[in-house]
């Protein structure tokens, strides 16, 4: 029983969250004596693909077709469908990132498989897969009614393998005609030199306690020291102190970093819903009664304008040592 992993890529390189999906697929395939096949659509790099053997990939199939350079979930879903027709796989694994979120449900609908979004672990002995629901306030153990599953996996769902193997390479042609491609990307804008919030291992987040956008310099410096992404509470993005894509919480982005700093954020239930799955939470707030302290691992009751520069200096010393 083989497993297919969609190898999401940008600028010809497979994205980091996909490594987790590969290791997840490997563990899934191994339990049934199968292999892991990967499919990359559009530009790829041979050495990069081979190196994925480290995480458990057996064969990397590349589709060298420039028409895949615009992400069009319909055309991508067709290509994956054609691949499965030619190379039967019981399950299909994605990472739960932007493209995975858009594409995996389509593939599940196309192949009539059960979809598990945001899988947090491998299937348990009873076959159920756990995922977060109610904005991190609960978990659901999902039972599949179909023979196979499409799983979009979170970070740390299976743990990264570290094997001394190379993936073998193959090419694949899904044979799509031009009318399969309907979406045209006319412009891509990336923020250079910053870490995408959804991929960040560490996040430094600040709220209305900072008083105004002019005070974010120390937040950015702290994020820089920690190699962290910056984030904010909803009112901060609503009034335009920070861009919308930094808004975390129930109505913004959900993050699950190893380390989350909350600075001048009260810890309203809607904010916590988007960050409560972080591994370690540190809160800095002048108000000892701020609800965030109840959700925190470590807390400092103090003024951000005093604490953050001191913290930044201490961390710099720590990382320099």
């Amino acid at each position: 029983m083989n497993v297919l992993v969609y190898l999401d890529s940008a600028d010809g390189r497979v994205k980091k969250p996909v490594y987790e999906a590969i290791s997840y697929a490997k563990k899934l395939a191994q339990s049934a004596g199968g292999q892991v096949h990967g499919l990359v659509l559009g530009a790829s790099d041979e050495a990069d693909l081979k190196s994925l053997g480290k995480y458990g990939l057996d064969v990397a199939h590349h589709v060298d077709d420039a028409r895949f350079s615009s992400f069009d979930s319909r055309a991508y879903s067709m290509a994956i469908g054609r691949f499965i027709e030619a190379n039967p796989c019981a399950h299909v694994v994605f990472s739960f990132n932007h493209r995975g979120m858009a594409l995996a449900p389509r593939v599940a609908a196309r192949l009539d498989l059960t979809y598990v979004p945001g899988a947090m672990a491998l299937p348990a002995e009873d076959g159920t897969v756990v995922r977060g629901v109610n904005s991190g306030k609960a978990f659901a153990h999902v039972k599949a009614n179909k023979s196979g599953m499409v799983l979009a996996v979170m970070s740390n769902a299976a743990g990264l393998l570290d094997e001394s193997a190379e993936a073998s390479l193959a090419s694949f042609d899904p044979g799509l005609s031009d009318d399969a491609f309907l979406v045209k990307v006319v412009k891509v804008e990336k923020m250079e030199g910053t870490i995408p919030l959804t991929e960040a291992d560490r996040v430094v987040s600040a709220g209305r306690g900072l008083k105004g956008p002019e005070n974010w310099g120390m937040i950015e410096e702290l994020a820089d020291t920690l190699s962290a992404a910056t984030a904010c509470s909803r009112p901060v993005s609503d009034v335009g102190w920070r861009p919308h894509h930094e808004h975390v919480g129930q109505t913004g982005i959900t993050v699950r970093p190893n380390l989350y700093f909350a600075i001048g954020i009260s810890g309203a239930i809607q904010h916590l819903a988007g960050v409560n799955q972080s591994r370690t939470i540190v809160v800095i707030n002048t108000d000892p009664e701020a609800p965030f302290f109840k959700a925190a691992d470590y807390g400092i009751v103090g003024d951000a304008f005093d604490v953050v520069p001191k913290l930044n200096a201490a961390l710099r010393t720590h990382f320099a040592a």
Binding site: R106, T114, G118, N134, N145, V183, V188, E199, Q250
Partner: protein, 246 residues
């Protein structure tokens, strides 16, 4: 421009989440339900803005029982023209998407737009499954949607940035923050909503792709360790040795 807006009923954002003793169902006791915020604030409001400038009609569609009529009426009060409720259990996304697309196929829509995620399900899946059943393109987590003739112009979030996109109609969109601003229904809207059509139909295909064997609550968080503001080095030590986070 005829627009279909799937809307979902979810527990209010402040609701205490609990389950029945067997762990199989959500405990709705004392819980207030609202329209899913991204459906209401971003998808529905943008649909209304497009209708205001281009004309056409907005149909709300919902999967659920009669308890959902309250949020459907709210959607009509904000600016929907009519509504359809498909009788059934909204827990399985395959079922919802199949039922909604079966309705959409029988009626001529140019656009299907809903929120990027439901705050109780967090699956980011409905719009995407609908698009596959319709065999239409999908732009997910879109932050902008403009129309020029038969062409849609959109922006969508990508890791660390955004993309601008062009695509012809028909199209499925899932909406993110940035697309529109929340609208509060006014008295006139609420009065008018009472007489707008809300048709209840049955789903043809009742099969589900998944079930929830059990719900569970996360373990209680331990007490916070407070560190003195004048003793930052202690925090560094804890982050390093105890949390192993730096």
């Amino acid at each position: 421009m005829n627009i279909l807006v799937p809307v979902r009923k979810v527990p209010d954002t402040t609701a205490k989440i609990a389950f029945t003793p067997d762990g199989k169902s959500f405990d709705a006791n004392g819980v207030q339900f609202v329209m899913n915020p991204t459906d209401e604030w971003y998808a529905l409001v943008r649909a209304i803005e497009l209708k205001e400038s281009l004309g056409g009609k907005i149909t709300l569609i919902n999967v659920g029982d009669a308890d959902n009529d309250q949020i459907i009426r709210k959607g009509l009060a904000i600016g929907g023209d009519d509504a359809v409720r498909i009788e059934g259990d909204a827990r399985d996304a395959h079922f919802c998407a199949k039922a909604i697309s079966a309705y959409a196929k029988d009626n001529a829509f140019d656009l299907i737009i809903t929120g990027k995620e439901a705050i109780d399900d967090n699956g980011f899946q409905l719009a995407s499954m609908i698009s596959e059943y319709m065999d239409w393109p999908l732009i997910s987590q879109a932050t902008r949607l403009d129309v020029e003739g038969d062409i849609f112009h959109l922006s969508r979030e990508i890791e660390g940035g955004h993309e601008d996109i062009e695509v012809s109609k028909p199209l499925v969109v899932s909406a993110s923050k940035g697309m529109a601003e929340q609208r509060i229904p006014n008295m006139r809207g609420i009065m008018m909503a009472r007489s707008k059509p809300l048709n209840v139909i049955q789903a043809e295909d009742a099969s589900v792709a998944s079930e929830v064997a059990k719900y569970a609550l996360p373990p209680e968080k331990g007490d916070v360790k407070l560190i003195d503001a004048d003793n930052i080095d202690e925090l560094i030590t804890l982050l390093k040795n105890e949390a192993k986070a730096i």
